[in-house]
């Protein structure tokens, strides 16, 4: 599997996905 960080779009999409995951964790488990 290709590393998504090798492309700029892959990096931006990974950042967006990570933001959503962390947001859900904070919202549902840490507040």
């Amino acid at each position: 599997m290709k590393n998504p960080l090798d492309s700029l779009w892959g990096t931006v999409i990974s950042g967006l996905v990570l933001t959503v995951i962390l947001y859900e964790i904070v919202k549902n488990f840490l507040n």
Partner: protein
């Protein structure tokens, strides 16, 4: 407005813009520019005159950003880093920023010193250093996205 938090906020924002601005410059501009410049034999201009200056402001603005951020957190430093109730949002931002700072000083800068010839390295070591620095820089670009989100919305924000 209290003077110390106000100053800390001002320094944190300005240094943070410089740090992340230069991070985006490296990832969105310089990486591809270096490839094109290497192909036409003009890469030395970037690696000799641009990259060392950009890296100087990059690594030191990272330190200033973190220190000003820690000052700004003040009494909330421990609640933020322990992700206590009500502080988990800013805490996640603070943790992401901390991981990014460690990436800058622990991986990116030591490898860039080999790439730019500031530290002796064989061609094989340089190739390895290039990949390690590239991936750490891309990781920081990815982490900057949730980091900025939580920094901007995390302070006392009820999710």
């Amino acid at each position: 407005m209290e003077l110390v938090p106000a100053l800390a906020r001002w320094v944190h924002l300005l240094a943070g813009v410089m740090w992340i601005g230069l991070l985006y410059y490296f990832n969105f501009v310089q990486a591809d520019a270096m490839k094109a410049a290497t192909a036409d034999g003009t890469a030395a201009g970037i690696s000799k005159h641009v990259a060392p200056r950009a890296l100087f402001f990059f690594r030191w603005s990272a330190v200033v950003t973190w220190l000003a951020g820690a000052t700004l957190l003040g009494a909330y430093f421990v609640p933020a880093f322990t992700l206590s109730k009500g502080y988990a949002g800013i805490g996640v931002g603070a943790w992401l920023g901390t991981i990014m700072l460690l990436n800058v000083w622990g991986i990116i800068w030591p490898n860039q010193k080999k790439i730019l010839g500031l530290k002796p390295a064989t061609d094989e070591e340089k190739a390895k250093a290039r990949r390690a620095a590239f991936l750490a820089s891309r990781t920081n670009t990815m982490l900057s996205m949730p980091m900025l989100f939580f920094m901007a919305t995390g302070w006392h924000h009820a999710f």
